[in-house]
């Protein structure tokens, strides 16, 4: 965990002058990941760092407080990631990369995931593959489609739909594969260095492959306040 953070730190400050580095500090009312609460439906604090090189290489790290099912207090999730992105013309671009999600004091749930996708200005689609999602012992595929539209100079509306294909952790001989859908719709407003997002998030299942508390509600409204630096 600390080693990962140190690598990101060194990476961030040993960069050529052409690189661009940015960050966000965020507070969310509920950390929803693919429709599932990773914070036991409580607020979470997050930090994100990103690095972009003009050649197309990108790297970064994301950290968030989480509340795991089998732990009493809050833990920390860290996701270092890296990849390569290029524009294709006609407003399209593609990217491929990988990330590694690790949890303090709960290494059994660590997992790696590769991702690849195509983006236009307003729409992006992405596919993720993890050989051992959240350390549950089976491979998963996650596909998502995101869209956003600028309605005024600083106000966007956005929507998201995603589907996770995983092995059923329950009665595996009857329905060995399960699909879990999640949707999100909301608005995002920029105020200079601040961004406020209000979104409705929903998932079609509360019983999941995730090692987190089962949510009382399949859907919720999430408020997200972030400051960039």
């Amino acid at each position: 965990m600390l080693r990962g953070a140190a690598v990101v730190w060194v990476l961030a400050f040993a960069l050529p002058a052409t690189a661009q580095i940015s960050g966000n500090i965020t507070l969310v009312s509920d950390y929803r990941f693919r429709g599932i609460s990773l914070s036991d439906q409580k607020p979470a604090a997050q930090l994100s760092l990103g690095y972009d090189h003009p050649s197309g290489w990108y790297a970064g790290a994301f950290a968030s407080t989480v509340q795991l099912l089998d732990r009493s207090g809050r833990d920390l999730q860290l996701i270092p990631y890296a990849g390569y992105a290029q524009r294709m013309g006609a407003g399209l671009s593609w990217h491929v990369g990988a990330g590694y999600s690790s949890f303090s004091h709960a290494g059994a749930h660590n997992y790696a995931e590769v991702h690849g996708g195509i983006s236009s200005e307003n729409v992006s689609t992405r596919l993720y593959y993890s050989p051992d999602y959240f350390g549950q012992g089976s491979a998963t595929l996650y596909a998502e489609l995101n869209a956003a539209r600028l309605v005024m100079a600083s106000i966007q509306l956005f929507g998201h739909i995603g589907v996770l294909r995983s092995r059923n952790p329950g009665i595996s001989y009857e329905r060995p594969i399960q699909y879990q859908f999640d949707v999100q719709a909301g608005t995002s407003v920029d105020f200079e260095k601040f961004n406020v997002q209000l979104a409705w998030v929903a998932s079609d299942k509360t019983y999941t492959v995730y090692p987190f508390s089962e949510a009382r509600n399949r859907s919720t409204v999430v408020l997200r306040l972030s400051r960039s630096f």
């Binding site: 050529p16 002058a17 052409t18 661009q20 580095i21 940015s22 966000n24 965020t26 997050q46 994100s48 990103g50 972009d52 003009p54 197309g56 990108y58 970064g60 994301f62 996701i79 990631y81 990849g83 992105a85 524009r87 013309g89 006609a90 407003g91 671009s93 990217h95 990369g97 990330g99 996708g117 983006s119 200005e121 307003n122 992006s124 992405r126 998502e144 995101n146 956003a148 600028l150 005024m152 100079a153 600083s154 106000i155 966007q156 956005f158 929507g159 909301g186 608005t187 995002s188 407003v189 920029d190 105020f191 200079e192 260095k193 961004n195 406020v196 209000l198 979104a199 960039s228 630096f229």
Partner: protein, 424 residues
């Protein structure tokens, strides 16, 4: 109760955002003289990609990355004794464009040379000033230009329906009775003030797309096109009706036209060669968009952007420029829409370009997959025998439609014309 609280929160967010709208975009750029001291500095804009916390927002509008580009721009401004004025992301080129002002005692050319060597800078260039072409001239007698192209007959089968046309010029009178309802979007890229109507833009809009069969005024060449009225030029009161634009305002409008997937872009203006604009024009051509530019009659070859490769350069029919690259179209004594819900007569290559823009919209309706190169070839397909191959080509709308689409939209007109030719 909870729902009411969320509703109140959404309302507060909206009101606060409206109050903050565009404040960051800084001061007005509509000052021709101060533009001479301004330069454009481009920084790399990373392509959109995976980030764990910003999956759902528009790529270049997310806060991520923008602050660091601002920091770099601030540092560059400090190091090179410049004043940072404004910025605009241009994802079509993978850059964010910053406008900076050179001190009055300093040389813009020297600063550009120094900035171009800085590894943080993608490119740098002067801020050029462009001028809208053509002039209003109510003294010329009425001479309906539509006759040459058999517009009434063409409109029986094609009207440019739903083809997106971007007019990048001064503001358009959106509520003009002959234009009402056909403007799909009106945006101001000049300054933060509300969108305003001006003479040149309103006249062009009428020539391109004024409503037909409405019992008033005129009929545009493509009366059912969807017009994007993009104000990137401004009319300067002290210069009469003359209108000016800058590299920055034009680039912002071109970026918007690209985002909106405009099929045709009308640029009835001219100025010095501009690298940033040429890159955006090339991006548009690569996207299959046709660019129509008025040729400056004072410059051989038409000036920029008319002289840029792939751009259709259009002059009025009695131009003295005999460059073979030019296309000729009606541009003298054109009745068109004017400010104050009026109509007036105009003359100039601006309006010739507007006619061709409308004609290209007709071609796109008939052949949606046609490419800019094929459109250029079709517009050169004259039915009349040409006296010399190396002279500008007078556009024949009927022949162009027939060549591009195989459709005889005005077969009877062509027949009448053929019969009237001596020796045939």
């Amino acid at each position: 109760m909870v729902r009411r609280r969320w509703a109140a929160l959404v309302l507060c967010m909206t009101l606060a955002a409206c109050a903050a709208l565009d404040g960051r975009r800084g001061e007005a750029l509509a000052d021709r003289d101060s533009n001479e001291r301004k330069i454009l500095v481009m920084l790399h804009l990373a392509p959109p990609h995976f980030r764990p916390d910003t999956a759902y927002t528009r790529s270049y509008d997310s806060r991520f990355g923008r602050d660091d580009r601002r920091r770099i721009a601030d540092a560059l401004a400090r190091e090179h004794n410049l004043r940072l004025i404004s910025d605009w992301p241009m994802p079509a080129l993978g850059v964010e464009c910053f406008v900076m002002e050179v001190q009055p005692t300093d040389s813009p050319a020297r600063r550009i040379e120094q900035l171009a060597l800085d590894p943080r800078v993608e490119s740098a260039q002067p801020m050029h000033v462009f001028q809208a072409l053509g002039h209003n001239d109510p003294l010329y007698p009425l001479q309906p230009s539509g006759k040459l192209w058999h517009l009434a007959e063409i409109h029986e089968s094609v009207t440019g329906k739903n083809v997106v046309v971007a007019e990048i010029d001064t503001g358009v009178e959106v509520e003009h009775p002959d234009l009402r309802g056909l403007i799909a979007a009106a945006r101001n890229f000049v300054d933060c003030s509300p969108y305003s109507a001006e003479m040149h833009g309103t006249a062009l809009a009428g020539s391109i797309a004024a409503r037909d069969d409405d019992g008033i005024g005129i009929a545009g060449v493509a009366p059912q096109a969807r017009l994007l009225a993009l104000r990137a030029c401004w009319q300067e009161p002290r210069s009469g009706s003359a209108a000016f634009c800058s590299s920055f305002t034009l680039a912002k409008a071109l970026q918007f036209a690209l985002e909106q997937k405009a099929r045709v872009i009308n640029l009835s203006l001219a100025g010095p060669h501009d690298r940033l604009l040429e890159r955006l024009l090339n991006a548009a051509l690569a996207q299959g968009t046709t660019i129509v530019s008025a040729a400056d009659p004072a410059v051989i070859g038409g000036g920029f952007p008319a002289s840029s490769p792939g751009v259709l350069a259009v002059a009025e029919e009695d131009t003295r420029d005999d460059s073979a690259a030019l296309l000729l179209a009606p541009g003298r004594d054109i009745p068109t829409t004017a400010l104050g819900s009026r109509w007036d007569f105009v003359t100039g290559s601006s309006y010739s370009a507007a006619h061709v823009t409308g004609l290209v919209a007709l071609l796109y309706e008939l052949a949606p997959s046609i490419q800019p190169r094929q459109i250029s070839d079709a517009l050169r397909a004259g039915t009349l025998p040409r006296l010399a191959a190396n002279r500008p080509v007078m556009i024949d709308a009927c022949a162009a439609i027939a060549r591009a689409t195989g459709t005889h939209a005005c077969a009877s007109a062509v027949t009448r014309q053929a019969k009237s030719l001596p020796g045939q």
